[in-house]
Structure formats: structure tokens, C-alpha cells
Symmetry: C2
Subunit: 336 residues, 2 copies
């Protein structure tokens, strides 16, 4: 469970980080200072199969390396949405990447490119990015919630990524906030993912439109199709009452989970990342209003609770960091 | 936040552990194998003031040391219900020990007895005890919930007690399980402490009696006064429907919190300790029935969820362990 963030001992002046999502495949060359030097954004051709995606990834990496010319490459880090086996360099399970389970991804990319490759869960990569050059620069422990289609979690304790005994630590998205609440894709009732993911926001808006509660959103749906969470956010910004109510619920729901995390970890920083975190201005106030009631440790210690500053690049930068850190101590993982 | 459990480098063949509660003051001499050699149980004379309690504690310790004769004492560990400042050896806050905040407890006991003293939060001591010679012997990470008057939490990650940035980590008792649930003493609605502590069990029984739902418990209340959680447990054992319902709710409520902890930490062991855990036979089945629905990580990894085997001695043994471990690495605490 160990990636020691304090030692970046590899040689090479830049590394390449990959953020491999179910929809987007993003690749960046990153300097030793954590600055993105070059970036490529592709679609993830999941439907074309695993080998095609790996092919696209390797081509993108090669192209970036060519652009960087004579500079020496330290290695490659890949962030994936799934449970990673750090020892074998494989994906143990990933609902968003069908056909990837138990395939030796790391060895395959290393074989094709002749460079060291390090895998990590995408939310852990985002946590690493924030720790390295984001809002976590000055702390040694932090939690991140990545609010996207689903909700991921990443955890750095005392300068180490906490993977847990089976690489399944920090599954914050499936922490229960209401035991009889909304049904989650995982089968549980009342996971935070069912209240604060982009999918949940869309579901709530859809229900409100069906019940005739928002003429604005109904019109939007009629004109442009089912509103996305971004569109609902824009409505909230324009003062739409229903959209504001939805984001108020998002904030208050997140307060339960963030409050639980504060009570459990007592770390100094909790970061909200992922696409939905861009709506911080409409849900953040409710979150911060609710939090003192929810957490006795929050009241006593006043930790920081903030939106990501690296935004969509957190995972990309964190993945690149993996190569500089050379997976330091990763061999110690899973010895819990 | 670091107490390295793997090194017990002090000399001395036994140490003394103190479990200082709001009601009971228990002191034990413990061998290097974690066996209790001698034990003293006193009342904690909280009302007589802090100095009286320290006096009683030091007298008890001296008496035990005399009983052990010529054996060499390694040191003294004291578990307290409160937030400990490990650096200064003081209690930062403790609702159950009024007048103790910021008093140099550690230095005072050291001065009186001329031996090294180490303080720890009582639930962390219980976690240490279970890790050392209890159900956690074969794992390097575990969570414990101590179900007593309130609910405490202790956390060992990778052989280290996790104290958090301010010594307030593992406040599991105040994690929310129902955002609109029962009022907790901390001011939040729906903390697990309001559902699975001895106090909560008494409150639920009291309400049921008032509503005429349990003639059995009503008779008991008339004959012996307000039933304790132990008495309610005995009723459940005898098949009283209402008492069984209460413990079913205790188990299902705990499943939400334990499920959240499993999703957050992914450690291999979750221990239920404290007095209420003795009722495991009437709430454990409901807990284990509910847990798979509540936690995707539980379903995938099947961690152990068990009642304490050291029972009331966990804290006593864990406190004694502190002296053998010589607070290893404690100087690194609070650098988060």
C-alpha cells in the first residue's frame, strides 16, 4: 500500500502520465516540477476492445515522446478506473473496462515501449496529483472524492497512498449516507454515489421534470434532450429553483460522507474533484453549512474542505508522478 | 501518529497497563507475552477530583509493582477516554474526566513513580491489545469499535496506531448512519452511537416500555428500575420479541458503519469490543446478514468481522503494550 511521495529518485527529466477513462483517453508529458509540457486527448475506444485501446495509448505515448525530442523519459504512469493489482501490474476488476481483468497491462505496455510502467487506480492518481502540485502540496495526508459518472475515492496517509489489503481502500463513493435512501448501482440503498455523482444529478432532474417541478429544465429537455449535469449546473447558476435545490441536496449529502471521513481519518485536507466539483459554487456553501453539524472532529479541528485546483488534470499529473516515484515501496503493498 | 508495534525494545520483564474509565479504574501487570499477571479493580473517584484519581492510580500501580517483587518494570501505559496530546503527555479534552484538560498527566505520574509513562486514547489501547494478543494477532491492520456507554474507535494501519492530525482519528462512534435519525449527544442526528451504544439500547427499551410494547421489560422496570443494556440482553436471550427487535436494529445499524469502514479502509479485520459486544449472539447475525448489502468491498474481500476475544481486558493489555513499545515513533505523531 506504499508509494513514498517524498522520494523521486528516477532519472529522466520528464515522465508521461495517462488518464484512461471509460470515455476519454488523455496522455500528458509532465516535468519534474509537475508542469504539463504536452498533452493529447483521445476517445477511449472501449467497444473496439482492449488491444485497440492499448494500441491507441502506446501510439499516443510514442507521439508525445517524439515531441519531447531528446529529453530523457523517466517512465510512464497509467491511472485506470478499477482495482489494480500492484504486484502483477494487472487490473483486478473494472466495470468500465470490460475484458481487462487479469490481463498483464503493465508488462504489455513495457514490452511495446521499452520503458518502466506503473499502474494506479484513477482516484489514487488524482490524490497523488493534488498532493504533488495541487491543493495538497503542504500536507502529508489527504482524502479526495472524485465526483464523476460515479464517485471514486483516493487516500494519502502520511505521504503514502493507502491501497488497503486488496487494493480496494478508499471506495468512498459507496459509503452509505441514508440506509433507506436511493438505490445505487452497487445494489446498496443510499450510497453517496446515488446523491452526488453526475448520474445522480441527472436522475434527480429527470424525476423533477417528470413531476412538472421545473418548466425550465423541461423546456431544456424538449429542446436539447435529457439535460446533462453541466446543463443543470448552468440552470442553477441562472437561479432555477429546482436546479438549486438539487445542488443543495448534493452539498448536504456530501457533508454526511465528508463528515464521516473527517471523523474516521482526521486528516487536514478533503478535496472534491471530478467534473461535478466544478459546480462547487452551487453545492459548496450547503456542504460547508451542513458539515459542522455532521462532524464533531470537523468542529474541533477545522480541516480544509475544498474543490480540486488541478481539476481534470489531477489524475494525469498524479499518474506521471508515479513514474518519477518509481512505484517506491509498492512491493510492500498488500501486506496488510 | 506512529506507534510501531513490531519493536518492543525496552528492557524489563513486565509492564503495567492502566484502563482509566469514567467509572472504573483498572490496573494490571502484564508479561512480555501479553499475559495478565496481577490485576486491581478500583472505582474512578471522578467526583473527588483529578488529583485523587491520580493518587489512587499511583497507589494501585505501586501495590502491583510490590506484588511482582524483584521483577523489573518496563514502564507504564495509561489508556484514557479522551483526546491525547502524545507530545506533551496531556489530555487535550475528555468529557468523562472533567478538570484533566491540559494537565501534565504523564509527567506527574512519572514524577511520582520514577518510571516511563505513555498515554493513549482508550479505544486505541483496545486496538493495540487486540493486535498484540487478541483477534488481530495475525493481521497488521484493523479497526475496532468499542461499544460502551458511548462508542469509541481505534485504528491500526500497517502496524501503526493512526492518531490523525490532531489525535482525533477513528472517532467512529460519531459517523452518521441516518441523516435524519436519532439525536446524538454530539449534536448530530443519526450517529451510530445513538443506535448501538449501551445508552442507545436503554433509550430504545425505555421508549418501547412507555409505548406498552414490552410487558416483560415493563415488569422488569417496575421491579428493578430502568433496565440496563445487560438486562435487556438477558431478555433477548429469553426470547423477548421487543428486546430481540432492539438488538436486530443494533446489528443492522452497525452494518452501515462497519460497511462504511470496510469501504474506506479495506483492512482484513473489524473488531466489536466494549460491554455491548458481549451481546454479539443477539446482534451479530443481523450485522452479518446486512453487511453484504451495505458494502461492495465486503462482498469482494470478505474481511473478518468479529467480537473482541480480550473483552474488557483489551484496553488494559494494550496500555501495558505501550510501555514495552516505548512509544516507538510517537515523536512523529501530528506531523500530518
Amino acid at each position: 500500500m506504499i508509494v513514498n511521495l517524498m522520494r523521486a529518485e528516477s532519472t529522466g527529466s520528464y515522465s508521461i502520465g495517462v488518464d484512461l477513462g471509460g470515455t476519454n483517453l488523455r496522455i500528458a508529458a509532465v516535468s519534474r516540477d509537475g508542469v504539463i509540457l504536452e498533452k493529447i486527448a483521445l476517445d477511449t475506444e472501449v467497444a473496439e476492445g482492449r488491444d485497440r485501446v492499448i494500441e491507441d495509448m502506446c501510439n499516443g505515448i510514442s507521439e508525445l515522446a517524439q515531441r519531447l525530442g531528446k529529453k530523457e523519459l523517466a517512465g510512464i504512469g497509467v491511472g485506470l478506473p478499477g482495482v489494480i493489482n500492484l504486484h502483477s501490474g494487472t487490473v483486478r476488476q473494472s466495470p468500465n473496462l470490460p475484458g481487462w481483468a487479469d490481463f498483464p497491462v503493465q508488462a504489455e505496455i513495457e514490452r511495446r515501449l521499452g520503458t518502466s510502467v506503473f499502474l494506479e487506480n484513477d482516484a489514487n492518481s488524482a490524490a497523488l496529483g493534488e498532493k504533488w502540485v495541487g491543493c495538497g502540496k503542504n500536507v502529508s495526508s489527504l482524502c479526495i472524492l472524485t465526483l464523476g459518472t460515479g464517485i471514486g475515492g483516493g487516500l494519502i496517509l502520511d505521504n503514502h497512498v493507502w491501497h488497503g489489503a486488496d487494493g480496494m481502500g478508499a471506495e468512498f463513493g459507496h459509503m452509505t449516507i441514508d440506509p433507506n435512501g436511493a438505490l445505487c448501482a452497487c445494489g446498496n440503498l443510499g450510497c453517496i454515489e446515488a446523491y452526488a455523482s453526475a448520474t445522480a444529478i441527472q436522475r434527480m432532474a429527470h424525476a423533477a421534470v417528470k413531476m412538472g417541478r421545473s418548466p425550465q429544465l423541461a423546456k431544456m429537455a424538449a429542446d436539447y434532450g435529457e439535460p446533462t449535469s453541466e446543463m443543470i449546473y448552468l440552470q442553477a447558476k441562472q437561479g432555477d429553483k429546482l436546479a438549486l435545490e438539487i445542488f443543495d441536496l448534493v452539498g448536504r449529502s456530501l457533508a454526511v460522507t465528508v463528515g464521516n471521513l473527517i471523523n474516521a481519518f482526521n486528516v487536514p485536507l478533503y478535496v472534491l474533484g471530478g467534473g461535478v466539483a466544478r459546480a462547487w459554487d452551487v453545492f459548496g456553501p450547503a456542504l460547508l453549512d451542513e458539515l459542522p453539524r455532521r462532524s464533531v472532529v470537523y468542529r474541533a479541528t477545522q480541516p480544509r474542505v475544498e474543490p480540486s485546483i488541478l481539476d481534470a488534470d489531477a489524475g494525469l499529473i498524479g499518474s506521471a508522478y508515479l513514474a518519477f516515484a518509481r512505484g517506491q515501496g509498492v512491493a510492500q503493498a498488500y501486506r496488510v
